[in-house]
Symmetry: C2
Subunit: 233 residues, 2 copies
Amino acid sequence: MTSPTIRYLGQKDAIQLDEELMGECGYKLEQLMELAGLSCASSILEAFPQAKKILIVVGPGNNGGDGLVCARHLKLFGYEPEIFIPKALQKDLYLALANQCSTFEIPILSLTPQLEEINQNYHLIVDALFGFSFKPPVRPEFSAIMTNMINSTTPCCSIDIPSGWDVEKGPTELSQYLKPKMLISLTAPKLCAKFFNGEFHYLGGRFVPPKIEKKYDLNLPQYLHTTCCYRLS
Amino acid sequence: MTSPTIRYLGQKDAIQLDEELMGECGYKLEQLMELAGLSCASSILEAFPQAKKILIVVGPGNNGGDGLVCARHLKLFGYEPEIFIPKALQKDLYLALANQCSTFEIPILSLTPQLEEINQNYHLIVDALFGFSFKPPVRPEFSAIMTNMINSTTPCCSIDIPSGWDVEKGPTELSQYLKPKMLISLTAPKLCAKFFNGEFHYLGGRFVPPKIEKKYDLNLPQYLHTTCCYRLS
């Protein structure tokens, strides 16, 4: 099912494309994040229909925002998501998204979930820690949860970038790194996705204007019918 | 397929529920509008898969905003939407949504489309003129397009409220009123939907928190899988 021609973006192009979507295309961040998070939840429902309890690990930037939106839609789809936020959120939008999750009665954990807890309590981890702006190394405040995610027997689904990976070069700390079972690339895959060898690779973010797709030579696959996600492999 | 217990909201409750979604639930208007417009486009793809050219008539308020979002997703779904805006948009968000449509190369008509043009050029009209805040009568600046929509042989799909109808009492000017073939109720149907007797009645807006659903006694049907619309009848 892999499309041979889809383009994998470097970090600079990914950042520039994102800026263009919100610049000359006129998108608001709220809109893109809503559609991105929805496509993550939809992909997860396709890949893990049997999962029930899902731990969503939310980082301090837009990747975390996507995770919060994803959590809310997962709840609407019938899952039991729980959220862990290792570093307090700052931006008004992220706080609003977290508030929405509270309205949906999605628990927000106050302590770092321990390895045993994760293994026993959750069927899936959603890694929404770092996105395409990430530059290694992982900061100390995230190392405890990162270590637990890496060592957990619970499968992991990474949003856009497996956290800790270099956006272009993939895993750099080869002794210990995250090996997600699922990756959801947003807008277009980033270069590091070439190093992904988990079971499910999805594409989400059905919002790219044709002229942007052409300009960046993205060669996106055709999303089917009303679906907002596409299985790449 | 009709759910016998779904609640039909009066105007006051509809306004209050909407305020609550953006108040204590923490939703941003951008998010609700994105999901609402997406559910409209999805419903249309279900009901009118063969239509190609679609005229979207965009009013000056949130109903028009839903229409602009719908237009963009229709384009992504492969339709050829065109937009007519009878009264210049004011709010920053609406202008951004119109700008997005331009980025998607969706034509925005500069003259009121005439009856013959509508009949000949379009397979469907999307009526996004007035929503649940509307109070009759229709203002003069909208009467030309309203008359053409009413008299057109092209089927019409109304978003949330058939324009010109009283939100609770339905059609009031009984000599001439809009008879849409399709109605997409957003969040929950409004009382006037009881007077709708077209072919397709859909529900959209899969974003209501369970506690709000309970508080307003909405008895919403179960949306299926990842779909964001539900056929009521």
